[in-house]
């Protein structure tokens, strides 16, 4: 039974069958909102899907065997781990198994950026290298508030299970922690103002500069899945509806995720890109400050 449930959550909901279209939809929504905020028409609805299919159909550049292998495996690992993280999201709390294990979920989410760092260095492009080193610095910087905020939630709820956290965390702690978590999302998704890792005016596409065709399509896929995973993580923490029937839970989960996309898109449209040092400083001071205050509140209430 657990295996079946696990497979369903990996492959159907909130896994591949849901997450892929949802990721493309979120990417489209972000681009559309960005376009409307700028007074443009914006891309058609199926554009992210078209992009993916077009990239898949392209003939890959011939590379040295090891490099080609790594450049295929790394984005694949990013896709697989992000998909795994999505499958762990506790849309249905009390599901049992590994579902909602916070430690496993966070480590799976972290595999994606790690693969991007490695992928940038493996591609042996100068710009890819700079993008990778920026990605690495930013990963270190935002993980401080990210982990502190999660730890505050865990401390408040007294549980390492996402479902437990979602149900039991005290609201003052939760609000502060969620603010810190939401602030970390733009870094992972390369959105303004924290998009230094893929600043196209400086370093083209950052770590994916040298990727092409199907390999780039895999990165795009991982990117789309990251949208679902990160907004889903916040959504499942923000509005747990434990007592409702499962369709209500699904609707709330999707609605909160989409609302989060809208908020992030408008925030991205209304800011310039901060520099690497400025971004890192922001996360180490402001972001960590918010997260630490969540932690303090959590311990005071204990």
């Amino acid at each position: 039974m657990t295996v079946v449930r696990g497979l369903i959550s990996l492959l159907v909901f909130p896994g591949a069958l849901f997450a892929l279209p949802a990721g493309w939809f979120m990417m489209w929504l972000q681009r559309k909102i960005n376009a409307r905020a700028q007074g443009r028409i914006g891309p058609p609805f199926f554009q992210p899907f078209f992009d993916f299919v077009k990239l898949l159909a392209k003939e890959p550049v011939v590379r040295p065997r090891l490099q080609g292998f790594l450049m295929t495996v790394l984005p694949l690992a990013a896709v697989a781990s992000t998909l795994g993280a999505i499958a762990l999201l506790p849309v249905f709390p009390k599901a049992g198994g590994f579902s909602g294990d916070l430690v496993l979920l966070v480590s799976l989410i972290e595999v994606g950026p790690l693969c991007a760092v490695l992928g940038g260095f493996v591609s042996r492009s100068l710009y890819g290298g700079i993008g990778a080193s920026r990605e690495a610095v930013l990963t270190l910087a935002y993980n401080v508030p990210f982990l502190i905020a999660l730890f505050a939630l865990v401390a408040s709820a007294g549980s390492f299970s996402l479902a437990g956290v979602a149900l039991a965390a005290a609201w003052p702690v939760r609000v502060l922690a969620l603010i810190a978590l939401v602030a970390c999302i733009p870094v992972k998704l390369h959105l303004n103002p924290f998009s230094a890792a893929s600043a196209e005016q400086e370093i083209y596409a950052g770590s994916t500069t040298e990727y092409d065709g199907p390999r780039l399509a895999l990165w795009e896929l991982a990117h789309a899945l990251e949208w679902v995973a990160l907004t889903g993580l916040v959504a499942s923490l923000a509005f747990p509806v434990a007592d409702a029937a499962w369709p209500v839970r699904v609707v709330v989960f999707v609605a909160v995720s989409v609302a989060l996309v809208v908020v992030l898109s408008f925030a991205a449209a209304s800011t310039a890109r901060l520099k690497l040092a400025q971004t890192a400083r922001w996360f180490l001071l402001c972001g960590s400050g918010i997260a630490l205050s969540a932690l303090v509140v959590a311990f005071v209430r204990l």
């Binding site: 409307r36 007074g39 800011t271």
Partner: protein, 178 residues
């Protein structure tokens, strides 16, 4: 939070861009591709002279003049239109078609020379106003002769010269101008 004013304004107004392949109509004064009216042309070659990119070439022949125009070379600066003494050159008010090969849109207009009123052979077209602009006051005699072909003009000049010799011209010989 001034940027939010801009964003809310943009969202409220809706998109300002046009979906491809739609495009805004050009302004009324738009300088498009060049056309030439052979009926007005004097084959003076001024358009060729002022053309910076050699898009216009004027090649005079024996009985007609070839006026060639290549939109692919044209910079649409409009100098040919400004300088044409008889307003034979005009510019279209819209954008031309795109083209794939260099010279694909080259067009040639043949300007036939009018017949000489005396002998009927082709004569270079002239225009009094232009002649006046180029040489100042034009005498009545010159005005008569500008419509003649080169041969008849030379003959008329010879006849006038001989007339100055008075009786010397009255030899009864038939005068063929030689």
């Amino acid at each position: 939070m001034n940027i939010l004013n801009i964003i809310t304004g943009n969202v409220a107004r809706g998109p300002q861009t046009v979906r491809f392949p739609g495009r805004e109509a050009p302004a009324a004064a738009y300088r498009g591709s060049v056309t030439m009216d052979a009926a007005k042309c004097l084959a003076c070659g001024i358009c060729d002279y002022v053309c910076v990119s050699r898009a216009i070439a004027v090649t005079p022949g024996a009985a007609s003049c070839e006026w060639t125009y290549d939109p692919g070379r044209c910079t649409y600066c409009g100098r040919c239109v400004d300088h044409c003494p008889v307003a034979a050159v005009t510019q279209a008010g819209d954008r031309g078609d795109s083209y794939a090969r260099s010279g694909a849109q080259r067009a040639t207009v043949t300007v036939p020379y009018p017949a000489c009123p005396q002998c009927g052979r082709p004569a270079m077209p002239y225009n009094e106003a232009v002649l006046g602009a180029a040489f100042g006051d034009v005498s009545a005699e010159l005005r008569e002769r500008i419509h003649l072909c080169e041969r008849c003009r030379r003959r008329a000049t010879t006849a006038a010269l001989k007339a100055n010799f008075g009786a010397a011209a009255e030899t009864g010989r038939s005068d063929d101008g030689r």
